[in-house]
Symmetry: C2
Subunit: 196 residues, 2 copies
């Protein structure tokens, strides 16, 4: 009768625990000075189990971002089908970020971590790329028939994610001068002119 079984919940909890352990250790010792062993320990699980959940530390570290972005994707899905893809994406982003965006402390912490440790940039890019293809599928659904090769869907998704990524990185360099969402909204508006 539970909406989702115990099994599922336990899995999610373990994944989350691993993620949080990774983040905690990375913040404390620096992301390049931690081992998978240490993360598993910190999460109270065997090293082998870590491998069942994540392919490597970076994936564990950015799991939170992926979750956040999946939440954004859900908002996109919830937008009225009548909206154009780009409109739906920006509207969903507005909902997602405008209110409490900058306030998630974990999100900010991860951001700062990336800023201070350029070696993490690769993993960040990877995370955005993952979401890009998930979003492309959603966009494609809105373009049934109008996009024979599927270029447009992928183009829109890629551009959207690229703008969010660039905005994030710029904001991390100038966090005091502007809010993330202000920056992102403006960038989206400018870049999106091709899709309206």
């Amino acid at each position: 009768m539970t909406a989702v079984g115990l099994r599922e919940r336990k899995k999610a909890a373990t994944r989350q625990a691993l993620h949080e352990a990774a983040l905690r250790l990375a913040l404390e010792h620096g992301p390049d000075r931690i081992t998978v062993d240490a993360i598993a320990d910190e999460a109270g699980v065997s090293r082998r189990t870590f491998s069942n959940y994540f392919a490597n530390k970076e994936e564990a570290l950015f799991h939170g971002d992926l979750r956040r972005m999946r939440a954004l994707a859900d908002l996109v899905r919830a937008r009225p089908a009548s909206e154009s893809p780009w409109a739906a994406l920006t509207a969903a982003a507005e909902e997602h970020y405008a209110g409490l965006g900058d306030l998630d402390p974990e999100w900010v912490a991860r951001g700062r971590l990336v800023r201070r440790h350029p070696s993490l940039a690769a993993a960040q890019v990877q995370t955005f790329a993952t979401m890009e293809s998930e979003l492309a599928a959603e966009v494609a659904a809105r373009l049934q028939g109008q996009d024979p090769l599927g270029v447009r869907a992928k183009l829109v998704a890629a551009t959207f994610m690229a703008v969010l990524r660039v905005s994030l990185n710029v904001w991390l360099e100038h966090p005091a001068e502007i809010s993330y969402w202000e920056l992102a909204r403006e960038s989206l508006a400018e870049t999106g002119r091709g899709f309206t």
Copy 2:
């Protein structure tokens, strides 16, 4: 007196040899069934030396793409300073791809490899990301003073590379129906409307 010393040339040759060895073996056995050892052997060099040139197989595999893209960046640099960044980028791409783009057999081979082995997608994304930041620097030079936070430069570079990447991937799925550059040009035109 030589324009470039023997030292430099030898290094370039070794790097190229490693790259070609990696590509050859990947094509023959599949990219996930080859070891760094094997690549170094094939290139007639020690495993340790491989590490002096590339951080991992993927980097070796995509070295050719990076070279290609750097050539494109050179074309960008050569465009008149009076052109807007986006105009310079697209014009350079036109020069680069329009003529012989699809004809470089290595380039096509790598493309097919990525298409058949999704595990390589990560490395491909990484390669484009690398070029993105190199290009951003070039674009920034054209926006002296007009781009206080540096957003615009990064935005333009990111969008440009995203379009090329998406176009490539779409083209790889439909190579018969259209030429790469036709597809990319159209995508650039559409997406670039925000930057004109």
